[in-house]
């Protein structure tokens, strides 16, 4: 059946819908039985019982009807029978925008309550992304996305502002502890922790950075903050723009790799945690070669390991805990904050429902940036307000910056007289400051000869000078080095010699490094061989990570220096220190 003419934007929308669909989405689009079980799980519905257009199934149907009309059999043949309907005009797109951006915070509560496993939130996010791709979005979404694309963070914080803020925070810290070592390290190489934050902290809430810095300092942590790629938030999650999501996540990952950080620790931000830890690898199509954890887990570990001591008597107010939707419902991160909270406060009262069943703060999904929908957002917030009030707590703790803003708005609007805070603030407040803080110092480890003794390393490069350099450096450290000048020779030697590590140049004539790498991974005999990619063209890295095989164990950019080569080789071979096996 012929489809009516569409506007250019609508045409593009449908065209991109076809490309965007995956099996999960199609299942969710085709599987809804309109049973209505999801209806009462949505805070918009509960706050607007007389408006059925807030029902999650109805909202999802606004996307579903386009799918049915264009892609599903029944809808294409008998559209009226299944309410299939095309999207034709720019007005249709604008109407859809008001639903997917204005009537849903993508909190995923309805998805958890669907007997069929229909993931409404994923459908809603997909529709947002399709609208964004044709330029239809709330103004706030456009502005924030632009900042994140262009400036590198979603609040448009300029590099000098960021660095200057850290500088004066460092000065304050130094004064507080009367210790020149009590500063925020920037771009420190080989740190155990690279700490990434929400730009809101720089702009509106720098005390959270100071609090985190205090904790790291007292714990004696070897940490750093990056000068770039420091924004762990990601508006791509809210706008549905996977390209933006991937670019932002990649910016953070690449900085950690560049700094050779062991672990990326994320400050308390629900969507930042979800974007950077959970979705980033999906948007980019590859996993990351380092650990990513929430600062909540880091603080909890410090207490358990005795690296910091806390006194809960310093936090005597009655507190309750609000689970961020992204943390709890999309990342399963809800027990650790409670464990920490119980160590930090004297009177913790649970909020009901909680964990994965908690209600949204109502500011999620980018809602705080969409001022045109503020009245309906605040009206729906009555559910959250009732939930908060019922706890009888004076303070609500949350592990999400977005929720801090959302809850603050709810509390102000409904005059609840509560205070909102985060775990980092409570931890810093409860800290027992030792008389003498032990800070990490650069220890000169005595050089031990032959740290790579016993390791066989195959170096592959088509440039003889580089081959000679690599071989000389590695042999000096005791490694047995084999050399290959092209892809075919590299493959043959990998099979024959079974090296512990292959350093692989990407750009080689004939069989290039990418091909060799995939062959190695696909050959069960040598698939587990450790591979370090070496390239003069960092943009080619992506090609490697996009391959449908286990990613390489490390990579290095040319020109290579001796120190970075040895550090990377040691890391890959899991030598924890430079003078022996782990």
């Amino acid at each position: 059946m012929a489809v009516s003419a569409r506007s250019h934007k609508a045409e593009k929308f449908v065209e991109r819908l076809r490309k965007k669909l995956n099996r999960q989405m199609v299942g969710s689009l085709a599987g809804c039985v309109h049973c209505g079980m999801c209806t009462n799980s949505c805070h918009y519905v509960l706050a607007n019982p007389d408006d059925p257009t807030y029902a999650p199934a109805y909202k999802a149907d606004q996307i579903r009807k386009i799918f049915k009309r264009n892609i599903d059999w029944t809808g294409r043949i008998f559209p009226w029978w299944v309410h299939a309907e095309d999207i034709r005009t720019d007005e249709d797109l604008a109407a859809l925008k008001d639903i997917v951006f204005g009537k849903c915070t993508n909190c995923r509560r309805c998805s958890l309550n669907c007997p069929m496993g229909v993931d409404f939130a994923t459908l809603n996010r997909m529709a947002r992304g399709l609208l964004v791709s044709v330029g239809v979005m709330p103004e706030g979404v456009a502005v924030v996305s632009k900042d994140q694309w262009e400036v590198g963070n979603q609040m448009g914080v300029l590099p000098q502002d960021y660095l200057e803020t850290l500088e004066w925070l460092s000065d304050e810290l130094e004064t507080e502890f009367k210790d020149t070592a009590a500063r925020i390290p920037i771009d420190k190489m080989d740190a155990n922790i690279v700490y990434a934050i929400n730009p809101r902290e720089i702009k509106y809430d720098p005390r959270t950075i100071t609090d985190a810095a205090r904790i790291f300092y007292i714990a004696g942590e070897n940490w750093t903050m990056p000068s770039e790629g420091w924004d762990m938030t990601n508006f791509g999650l809210f706008s549905g723009d996977d390209e933006l999501g991937g670019a932002v996540a990649q910016r953070v990952y690449e900085k950690v790799i560049e700094l050779r950080g062991e672990k990326l620790v994320l400050s308390e931000c629900g969507h930042g945690y979800r974007s950077t830890r959970c979705e980033g690898p999906n948007w980019l199509g590859y996993g990351v070669p380092f650990v990513i954890e929430s600062s909540v887990l880091t603080m909890l570990r410090y207490i358990k390991e005795g690296r910091i001591r806390v006194d809960k008597e310093k936090n005597r107010a009655t507190v309750t805990f609000h689970d961020s939707c992204n943390n709890a419902r999309s990342c399963g991160f809800y027990e650790e904050p409670r464990e920490l909270l119980n160590l930090l406060v004297t009177d913790f009262r649970e909020m009901y429902p909680n964990r994965a069943e908690n209600f949204c703060c109502t500011g999620g999904g980018g809602a705080m940036s969409m001022s045109e929908y503020t009245p309906q957002r605040l009206k729906s917030a009555i559910i959250k307000a009732d939930q908060l009030k019922a706890t009888g707590a004076k303070t609500v703790v949350t592990s999400c910056h977005n929720c801090v803003d959302g809850l603050t708005d709810v509390i102000r609007h409904y005059k609840l007289g509560m205070k909102v805070t985060q775990l980092v603030n409570l931890t810093a407040n409860a800290l027992v400051i030792p008389e003498r803080v032990v800070v990490p110092v650069e220890v000169q480890i005595p050089f031990v000869t032959m740290p790579l003794q016993g390791f066989k390393i195959l170096v592959v490069d088509d440039e003889p000078d580089i081959l000679t350099f690599l071989a000389a450096v590695l042999e000096d450290q005791g490694a047995t080095v084999i050399q290959a000048a092209d892809g075919e020779q590299a493959l043959a030697l990998t099979i024959q010699e079974k090296p512990d590590l292959v350093t692989l140049d990407l750009s080689m004539p004939g069989r290039n490094g990418g091909y060799v790498f995939e062959e190695i991974r696909n050959n069960p005999e040598i698939a587990s061989t450790k591979v370090c990619i070496i390239t003069g063209k960092p943009e080619l890295r992506r090609l490697i990570y996009e391959r449908p095989v286990t990613p390489p164990d490390g990579y290095l950019d040319k020109p290579i220096n001796e120190e970075s080569l040895l550090t990377n080789v040691r890391m890959i071979l899991e030598l924890k220190h430079p003078h022996g096996h782990a």
Partner: protein, 232 residues
Amino acid sequence: MSETLRFVSDDLQLMALGFMALVYILRIRWLLKFKASGDRQARSENRSASSFKGVVYSWANVAMPWSMESTRHMSFFYIQFVVFHVAVAANIGMSFVIPYAPGLMKPVIVVRLLQILFAAACAIGCYRMYRRLSNPAMRLISTPDDFFSLALLTLWLFASLFAAPNRPDLGEGPLMVYFIMTAFFLVYVPFSKISHYLYYPFTRFYFGRTMGHRGIYPIKRVPQTKNAAVKG
């Protein structure tokens, strides 16, 4: 038994079943044409998290009304769901038993139990139709297919009440109606919402895999204590 009844209870059913199977195969092929996306993130920080556990939990979700707030709060609706679906499954089973193993339907108790089940399901069907028409949100989301599918199933369950005794000697009418409706049902199902059970394993599998990998499934719930009461 007349030749016509034999035809509608046997050949016609096989034809309808064959047609349904064919359309289902095409449906599944169509679904599988779409690429399944994976979850590349490192496993949840919750050590017990596992995709496998998530999938099992997700599939078993249907039998665990306590696992979802929606079924916990709407227990009457859940009971209706169970009775209705068990009755439909029993009814499908009966369409095989009558022509191929009629002996199983001989004991009166079996017939009576089935009739009670069908009658209950039929009443539930009527109630659900009322709910669809009277609840504004339900009315808004309901399509002609939703109404027709529910009406079809309810009428079919009603017809099965009279077919269950399997007494063609007392008149072939009830069995004729039952088997013709069954054949129509089988042909219509792949094009309707009734085919949701075809998608169920897929949607639940993928949702459970992600939720399990990320440590959300199995859902951890802490029962409410006296210090807080929340409406909603």
